[in-house]
């Protein structure tokens, strides 16, 4: 599979339980080793949202964040969601990521109605099935990068030693091998976002939900993150849902949805869109 001798050597090290010794750009083999999982057949849906409403502060001063949003997310798809701020993007993210309960309507993840799940099953879902990348990172400030990344593994019941090794590997994968024991406050915004991405990948999720993952990254790192997300999708069948205004991300995605005023107003494939039009003024 890997003819490159350098990559082969690194893979052998990883198999032997050693950590990768040098920082280098992401290579295809790394993902195989870390997320050993066969690629899955596409086409079936992994998330269905049916007429989802979300109303904050019900009453005379209520805010309708979502007004009957309906969408299907296919397995192994890279879906981008666009919308101005206040359009209900983040609320939609919370709903389809099982982080909040819709006021009306249903959200199915893998055909399971998440409203029917108890807190225990929801915790399992959030731990293993979905990886979250937040716009404001939400790293635990008092923990080191490594501890932030190994926390979801601890919640999944992984042994500390094993989690540590895996955490170091994932951090190297996102290019932070040299910052493993640093606290988030000692890192730049882009580096913190990379820790957040590493944390989202901790338990080999099937779905990665990313809220503006490249917003705080420089061009080069942003490109690397897109490459990383795309290779996860292609090699492991991970489904990626991302809110973004980044043209590069939009161009690489399989499908783009527009959300406006709490409703999905438009869907398109990147090939059908002229990226120079005013639709991207938001």
């Amino acid at each position: 599979m890997n003819s490159d001798p350098a990559t082969a050597a690194i893979n052998q090290e990883e198999i032997a339980g050693n950590t990768v010794s040098s920082d280098r750009p992401l290579q295809a083999g790394d993902i195989d080793t870390l997320f050993a999982q066969p690629a899955k057949e596409p086409a079936e849906t992994v998330i269905n949202a049916v007429d989802v409403w979300k109303i904050y502060n019900p009453g005379p001063n209520e805010t309708q964040a979502l007004k009957g949003a309906t969408l299907d997310v296919f397995k192994n798809e890279y879906l981008s969601i666009m919308g101005p701020s206040g359009s209900g993007k983040s609320t939609l993210f919370n709903m389809i990521g099982a982080l909040g309960k819709p006021s009306r309507g249903k959200v199915y993840i893998d055909q399971v109605d998440i409203a029917q799940l108890d807190h225990n099953e929801l915790a399992w879902l959030r731990c293993r099935k979905v990886g979250y990348i937040f716009q404001s990172y939400h790293l635990i400030q008092v923990m080191t990068c490594l501890e932030n990344v190994t926390l979801p593994m601890a919640f999944a019941g992984m042994e500390a030693e094993q989690a540590r090794d895996r955490g170091v590997k994932i951090l190297k994968l996102v290019g932070l091998g040299h910052r493993v024991l640093h606290k988030p406050a000692e890192l730049s915004g882009g580096q913190q976002q990379r820790v957040a991405i590493a944390r989202a990948l901790a338990n080999q999720p099937e779905i990665v939900l990313a809220d503006e993952p490249t917003a705080n990254l420089d061009q080069h790192t942003g490109q690397e993150m897109i490459d990383l997300l795309c290779s996860l999708k292609e090699e492991l069948g991970v489904t990626i849902i991302s809110a973004t205004h980044d043209l590069k991300m939009l161009q690489r995605s399989d499908r783009i949805l527009w959300i406006e005023d709490g409703q999905i107003v438009k869907a398109a494939r990147p090939d059908d869109i002229d990226f120079s039009t005013s639709e991207f003024d938001h």
Binding site: G100, N120, E121, A123, W124, A154, F155, G157
Partner: protein, 346 residues
């Protein structure tokens, strides 16, 4: 349709590890929280210990006045104690003041004491250094016969007993002991029975003191509750987002609750123990500066049991209040939908 399994329940050890690591990492913040507990408990303990010390000082003071009066009264009847013999006739177990008076006599230079104690009213320690004698020869050559204890002498002919005494003085150290009315005998009560009105005034004073102490305890308890709750509430609410993040990463509510249970229990015990010591030391130093070390420490010695009880009570109060104050907001945060906890901005 796929089924969703249950999330693994992590052992308590994991929660404890996370907690200890957290306390170590945010040590500065932990110290601030613990100081809140220390201050609360120290305040409560200093009030409680102050009440105990004050009572000890007052009791010791009364005792000293009483002993001094007995000594003075006896000296007034017999003249100076130098080279005097006294006969001791215990008629019951001795009160604190009587025991102290006996000690004083024993330690007076040139005084010899003789005792007749067939009923063993005196303890072994009290009986030390006393010459044992029979009733017939008890008062031979003595300057006074002292009846001590809470009881009554049985069928004594004082004229006969005191026949060979050097000075025919019969004294009692308890107001309950009836004094003989035989001719030629000087009977004297060394104790002072309080008049009805005096006794009532004293009881009234004690009642008022108890009432005031009760109020001070209640108020200090309130201050402690508010102080500790405030410290713990702050330390938990500022971590709502952290709790929300943990929930997003798959933490169970029970795990979050257990984490905060451990954390608050550790802080409560450490803060409680430190606060207890600080409060006790503060009280002892303050009372020593006011009343002098001898008075305070002799009183302290007699109330060690109470102080120990209060120490346990205050440490438990610190522990329980910390746990309650932390667990309630932590449970609220743990039950929150993660999206809400993440948004919370405190």
């Amino acid at each position: 349709m796929s089924t969703i399994p249950h999330q693994v329940k992590l052992p308590s050890r994991v929660a404890l590890d996370v907690v200890l690591q957290g306390i170590r990492i945010r040590f500065g913040r932990s110290v601030v929280t613990v100081s809140g507990v220390v201050l609360g408990v120290a305040f409560l303990m200093s009030i409680l210990a102050g009440i105990v010390l004050k009572a000890g000082v007052a009791a010791e003071d009364t005792l000293r006045v009483e002993v001094e009066r007995m000594t003075k009264f006896l000296e007034a009847e017999t003249g100076t104690f130098d080279r005097k013999n006294f006969a001791i006739l215990p008629v019951g177990t001795l009160t604190n003041a009587e025991a102290r008076f006996l000690d004083t006599l024993k330690n007076t230079r040139g005084v010899t004491l003789r005792v007749f104690d067939p009923n063993a009213f005196l303890t072994a320690e009290q009986g030390e250094l006393l010459e044992e004698a029979q009733m017939e020869e008890l008062a031979d050559g003595v300057s006074a016969l002292l009846m001590m204890g809470e009881g009554r002498p049985q069928g004594l002919d004082f004229a006969e007993v005191m026949a060979n005494a050097r000075q025919k003085v019969v004294a009692s150290t308890s107001p309950e002991i009836p004094l003989p009315e035989a001719t030629g005998i000087l009977a004297s009560s060394l104790s002072r029975k309080l008049a009805e009105a005096e006794q009532q005034a004293l009881m009234e004073q004690q009642r008022r003191d108890r009432f005031r102490d009760g109020w001070i305890i209640i108020i200090s308890l309130l201050v402690t509750i508010i102080g500790i709750s405030n410290a713990m509430l702050m330390s938990v609410t500022e971590r709502f987002r952290e709790i929300g993040t943990m929930k997003c990463l798959g933490a169970l509510s029970a795990f979050v609750r257990r984490m905060f249970l451990f954390e608050s229990a550790i802080m409560g015990i450490v803060g409680g123990a430190m606060g207890c010591v600080v409060g006790l030391l503060f009280s002892i130093i303050a009372y020593t500066l006011t009343y002098g070390p001898t008075l305070v420490f002799s009183g302290l010695f007699h109330s060690l049991g109470t102080l120990l009880l209060y120490s346990v009570v205050t440490i438990l109060a610190g522990l329980i209040l910390s746990v309650l104050a932390a667990l309630y907001p932590a449970s609220v945060a743990a039950k929150m939908v993660p999206a809400v906890a993440l948004r919370s901005n405190i």
